[in-house]
């Protein structure tokens, strides 16, 4: 009954008119794990596969992340947005082997404010992309990852 993401993308790609606005209804059905997006090796492709396009920078998206990560294996980040109508928030780490890290789905009633911990292979730009009312907005920050002298 509910169309999943792949079907929607296919329908759009086929150039056919979407069957009524209900297809773009804010989800109750969860988007399936999009293999192509998670396995993409460059950020533009990952973003395209997941969200269907590029995002515009917006001051209404906030990405909290350290300037210098204490340890690349556990980098705490928080993504939030003051916008109304947020449907999802996704995180990309540009220089990771697979830039797409996670996609968080925000049903109505849930704050657009999610914290998590990421793995970063090396210094990289980290980007949060918020999908609100069908449009994409982003915020980025460079997070440095260093190798300390005190390994052990």
């Amino acid at each position: 009954m509910s169309m999943n993401r792949r079907s929607v993308v296919k329908a759009i790609a086929a150039g056919g008119a979407l069957v009524g606005a209900s297809v773009l209804m804010p989800r109750i059905a969860m988007a399936a794990w999009t293999t192509k997006a998670f396995e993409a090796e460059d950020q533009a492709t990952a973003m395209n596969e997941l969200l269907g396009g590029a995002a515009e920078e917006s001051a209404e998206v906030t990405l909290k992340a350290p300037d210098i990560a204490e340890n690349g294996a556990v980098v705490p980040v928080t993504v939030s947005s003051s916008m109304a109508g947020v449907e999802s928030m996704s995180i990309f780490v540009e220089n990771n082997p697979n830039p797409l890290v996670a996609e968080f789905l925000i049903p109505a009633g849930t704050d657009a404010d999610v914290s998590t911990r990421l793995r970063m292979g090396k210094t990289s730009k980290v980007t949060a992309v918020v999908k609100a009312n069908g449009k994409l907005y982003s915020a980025s920050k460079e997070v440095k990852v260093t190798i300390g002298g005190c390994g052990g």
Binding site: D67, E70, P76, R117, C150
Partner: protein
């Protein structure tokens, strides 16, 4: 900037080494004064980092470096060692084959006693650590001893530390047994002795070098060092004991690591724990 800082460290070390030796007491039985050493250490860090509370040194480098503190606070929202503490509790409460348990080996059933370790044992004429006694408990009850560095021993130690949170360290050096003071002195000498390919002492990094970048790491202060062990190090991705870190740090600083629970390490732990008297037990901790 990093290179300049490292060179500066080298120069600072040379200059400050003299100062540090003057600040605390001597290195032989006649001149060493543990209590004066302890107070001198607190004074030193108070002057280095005037904004930091002495009590906060149980949080290591996070007491003195804001950038890493923020990340640590995020981790503390849901610390990575929680699973280990749960596991530790389970292990602690699981009886041995003979029906006895860890609670039978420790005073107060093993609860709330972390701050009493390590201690000088007159009977055995040596310093006893918590991990040592965990394994002695096992062996005396017919069980195999656990490996010293990580896994079950760290988890049990973490649980015992957890039950002792906020209890104040009050390590004793019994006046009626000179050997205890000698053990403290050995630990102190070890801490200040230069060793290995880099000719570094513990003090070079953890006293003079505290919060000064060594490549991309900031050494933690010696004050409060042992209070938060065992430790979940992101580097390890797991929980490890104090002696695991002692060995590891030796490898990192290019000197031959001793085995965990070696006498030198136990004396070092004794010295370091005495230095943290007055601070609370804060284990397990999470660190980079």
């Amino acid at each position: 900037m990093k290179i300049i800082k490292t060179l500066a460290l080298g120069l600072t070390v040379a200059a400050v080494t003299q100062m540090t030796h003057a600040a605390d007491t001597g290195f032989d039985m006649q001149t060493v004064d543990p209590e004066a050493d302890r107070i001198a250490l607190q004074k030193y860090f108070k002057s280095r980092f005037p904004e930091s509370d002495i009590a906060d040194y149980v949080n290591g480098i996070y007491a003195v470096d804001a950038g890493s503190r923020e990340q640590w606070e995020e981790l503390e929202e849901f610390p990575p060692y929680e699973f280990d503490v749960e596991k530790g509790e389970e292990l602690f409460n699981t009886a041995f084959a003979n029906g006895k348990g860890y609670a039978d080996c420790f005073e107060n059933g093993g609860v709330g006693i972390r701050q009493n370790f390590p201690y000088w044992s007159k009977e055995e004429g040596t310093v006893k650590t918590l991990e040592q006694e965990i394994n002695e408990c096992r062996v005396s009850n017919g069980e195999e001893p656990l490996k010293w560095g990580k896994g079950a021993i760290a988890q049990i130690s973490a649980y015992m530390a957890w039950t002792s949170r906020d209890k104040v360290f009050d390590i004793k050096i019994p006046a009626d047994d000179e050997r205890a003071k000698a053990a403290y002195l050995e630990g102190k000498k070890f801490f200040y002795a230069k060793r290995g390919q880099l000719n570094l002492s513990c003090a070079n990094c953890h006293v003079q070098g505290t919060n000064i970048a060594i490549r991309a790491d900031l050494p933690s202060p010696q004050l409060g060092h042992v209070t938060h062990f065992p430790v979940f190090r992101s580097k390890w991705g797991s929980l490890g004991t104090l002696h695991r870190r002692y060995s590891g740090c030796h490898k990192d600083s290019r000197s031959k690591p001793l085995k965990p629970q070696a006498e030198e390490f136990r004396n070092l732990e004794y010295f370091q724990s005495y230095m943290s008297n007055g601070l609370v037990a804060n284990g397990p901790g999470s660190r980079k």
